[in-house]
Amino acid sequence: MRLLSRTDRVVLTLMVLVPLLLVVGLVWLPALATVLLSGTDWDGIGPLGEIDWVGWKNYDDVLNIYPPFVPAIQHNLLWLAALFVVATPFGMLLAVLLDKELRGGRFYQTALYLPVVLSLALIGFIWQLIYSRDQGLLNAVLGSNVDWYGDSNVNIWAVLVAAGWRHVGYIMLLYLAGLKGVDPSLREAAAVDGSSETSTFFRVVFPVMRPINIIVLVVTVIESLRAFDLVWVINKGRNGLELLSALVTSNVVGEASRIGFGSALATIMLVVSLVFITVYLATVMREGQR
């Protein structure tokens, strides 16, 4: 049976091998190395042979004597909830509105998408101008004296607004692209059958958009798990803005070089991510089998 020519087989082998090597080399090996390093007290200095094995000590330290850990978990979950309940639905709503071909729709689209395009440094600066306690826009307009970034009861919400600001634009564009792809005859048919705008959306358009909905859901989960940049530019993820990713970074990257300890945090984060990834993959595979 020679369905495939020699060239075909070479090409096929390459097409499998190259991505496989990339995935193994850039994802699986580093992940494995992180898990292994989490059992050591390596400080990034000296040859690998000198690394001491400390067993579960790093995990013990994370759970028992590292004050930022518990707030970090809570904030990550809060982040997920806020994006899922507020930002994502709002982004979808905006997409639906923009899909109506409003006058100046392009303008709104650009304005809403702009935050996603802006560079990190600029975003940090923009929000600093708004939230600064003494010189900020918000306190000047409201005449208030709220310490938006410094008060640990307030700052997570202030940052969630900023995060939502970016997330809404992202979801809006994704969803808008999906809406443009919906066959107009479906809506016409629904209209002919006397369906209202709302029920057309929820009963016809929304189910048809299922693939996009799943993408939006996954993007939301990923965005909240990897949330990092905003809190990092604000105060490096301290004082009320602890997030797992920021804790990993402040321990591993930079001068601190608590690589063992930071790897333990990263491993915990990996496990949390795996839970979501497993749920997602299970859902998708069940779909595929059907």
């Binding site: 200095i45 000296g46 008060d151 990923i222 530019v233 301290r238 601190a256 990263a266 991510s273």
Partner: protein, 440 residues
Amino acid sequence: MSRPRSQAEYLARLVPPSVAGLHRRALLAGAAGAGALLGTGLLAGCGTDSGADAKTVSLGSNQSDPKPKDVIAKVMDGFKTSSGVEVAINTVDHNTFQENINNYLQGKPDDVFMWFAGYRMRFFAAKGLTGDVSDVWGKLSGYSDAFKKASTGDDGKQYFVPSSYYPWAVFYRKSVWQQHGYQVPQTLDELTTLAGQMKKDGLVPIAFADKDGWPAMGTFDILNLRINGYQFHVDLMAGKEAWTSDKVKTVFDTWAGLLPIHQPDALGRTWQEAAQSVQQKKSGMYLLGLFVAQQFGDDEQDDLDFFTFPEIDSTVGAKALDAPIDGYMMARKPKSPANARKLLEWVGSKDAADITVKNDPSTLVANTGADTSGYTALQRKAAELVGSATEIAQFLDRDTRPDFASTVIIPAFQQFIKDPKDIGGLLTSIENQKKSIFTS
């Protein structure tokens, strides 16, 4: 942790190297640890490979701002004129340089590189990552014993050549103080009395900011130095003393007593904003490094004055202070050892210091032999203050392990500022983490 010298640098450092350089998702994938493995030697690629030539020497510079960069270039030009050896300057962004120092030193570092005195310097020396420069010190002159002590490693040899420094003190505007008739306080009681008067006059007594985490270290340092003295500071920073001891508790109790005269809501404020509140005559004084002057206009520089933090315990006195020292170190295996030593001798010389004084009004030079007639009044006074100091500390994050300073102390101090009541619980938490870090 260095202080941003300008708005541009402050903004630039808002972007962490991990974001600027690596892909964010790499972190999620758990690549962080391995990234550090692969990253070894990342910076080393920047080094020059022309070291075989006897007429060149390479310098790793962290002075990435235009002004200091220009000064370094002028100092190196002077070296070329005096020795005929060309210096290949390899400038790396200040923050990036510091963040990558581990990889840099283990890769192929430049023959000579810039660093600062303190625990970290001694740590690298003890690990054998930097070269012994005791023989260079034999040829240097114009350095006080305090500077030599600050350049010495744990084994008694010198590993560092100081070039510049700046003191931490309490800064104020002369015009404001004259207007209200304030006097410089000599004791803690006088300071609190003065603060009470300032409150009556509608001023915030002491400007305060700790959004970035490090400025509060200055407050802790000076209180600890005034209450427990220099040696305790050194031992505490080296992990030899317990944070749960009564001595440390006294420092925090004193600090808690002073918090009401500090600017409230410090955790959301940057040091620039706090400094501007002094500049705008809303705050009476501010404990910070000499770099606070950057927030004042050229015409306001003469209006800026300072005093050293007042005495708390008369048996301890008020002669010790934080004055971080910047300078140069040598790689463990420089490509041209002779030229590297020659360069170190030059940067430690009076002539090099003279070039710096002439071109940079924002620092103090370490060599006392330098011609300081070009100093501003503020610079001259600062130099006198440090000259009269009995002991010079390097600042908390330079005097202890960087992992302890950044991952334990910063969150702990911010917690204290937020809620100064539970000092006992906070100190127990610090001590537990300290034990875990210092024994690893």
